[in-house]
Symmetry: C2
Subunit: 224 residues, 2 copies
């Protein structure tokens, strides 16, 4: 077996790590120029390879983008999982999860854009065997799986539940708030200035309010 080789560190006729390198390059360009602005030719050039070489590893452009999205969901899940298994009280850990989400969206805009603007089309990348290989097995993370993950986290953090309010209800609210903050921030539309909270503060306070709101609703509080 070949030794692992850094993505853009090519030597000789064979690249040795082309698939990974292309994914990384795509991620980079999507981050810089958006899904629409990303180009196969650019990715190939950055990697130091002919555009045609891409087709040894992917069915085409769409498949490459789908693979980036796939990796993004995996990476996000890992980060959220790590936060949830960190030290501190359940609430602290849950808060840390929110921070991890925002940090992911900020640090990995290529992933984030691929995850949330790619069409939910048929499964993307080819197996290592190349274009003729069998279709990918069942494991395909998506927004749905990420959501299930959040639901579990909420259940763990508030083991007593929300007394009549579906946990998924709260989960959707929390996710929507996180997503809204992340995308507004990425678009440069999040109001900023002296006296205004940063996005982490914003999410922390918002999530607390949403959770408390649900708890009070569940207890028959006249808040609704």
């Amino acid at each position: 077996m070949r030794h692992w080789r850094a993505p853009f560190d090519r030597q000789g006729y064979h690249h040795g790590n082309l698939k990974e390198a292309l994914i990384e390059a795509a991620q980079r360009f999507i981050a810089e120029r958006g899904i629409g602005g990303f180009t196969l030719a650019d990715a190939a050039k950055l990697v130091g390879v002919t555009p045609a070489a891409l087709y040894r590893h992917f069915r085409g452009r769409e498949a490459l983008v789908a693979e980036v999205a796939f990796r993004g969901f995996t990476e996000l899940s890992n980060r959220l999982g790590r936060a949830l298994q960190s030290d501190g009280t359940p609430l602290e850990r849950f808060t840390r999860m929110g921070e991890a989400y925002l940090a992911f969206a900020e640090q990995e805009p290529g992933f984030y854009a691929a995850m949330f603007s790619a069409k939910p089309a048929d499964g993307g990348a080819c197996a290592p065997g190349g274009p003729k290989a069998e279709a990918k097995p069942a494991e395909k993370p998506s927004g749905g799986n990420a959501f299930d993950f959040l639901v579990h986290a909420l259940s763990d953090t508030f083991p007593d539940g929300f007394k009549g309010v579906d946990v998924r209800f709260v989960a959707i609210e929390v996710w929507a708030l996180s997503h809204g903050i992340a995308t507004l921030d990425a678009a440069g539309q999040l109001p900023k200035g002296p006296g205004l909270p940063d996005k982490y503060e914003l999410l922390r306070a918002g999530v607390l309010a949403l959770v408390h709101g649900a708890l009070q609703r569940g207890q028959g509080d006249p808040a609704r």
Copy 2:
């Protein structure tokens, strides 16, 4: 002065209403295919005109998209304003504003996409005089103005304020939640199913929770 003519209802050499027709066509295609998928050639063809005709009214592709975004912000402001001036208690009217926001995002995906994915570049469309005309005057709505509008609405709805919590803080939270719900829904990523709330329910409960959370924070509640 010429009589008004329906956007796609052309007769004779002169279109008579080309600028409006192009904006409407662009809005339509952006809704269907996204900002990246929208094409000048398609818009011109739909309107029944040569692509070159576009340049009598816009500096180019970017300017047309910017004009669509501009119209979108205007339309959104109108809708929010209408909701805020409707009947009922202040809270009812504020709730209606949220519904108007979600309805706008759903009914006008072309506007919404143009508003939130177009770069905040230099001002777009040409004045009616054509390419050589003077630059547009100061009135250019953007996310910033829409935000100010929301702040005012919140102040009107809760005239006593939030006792120590900046109104803008609450406004950002409400906006982020609305934007998150709207975009997740548009991307088809909003979890749905029996027992799960629709987006309007989601926003209503969420906004209430956010507002109450701010009120309690402002009163020194241990919720934070």
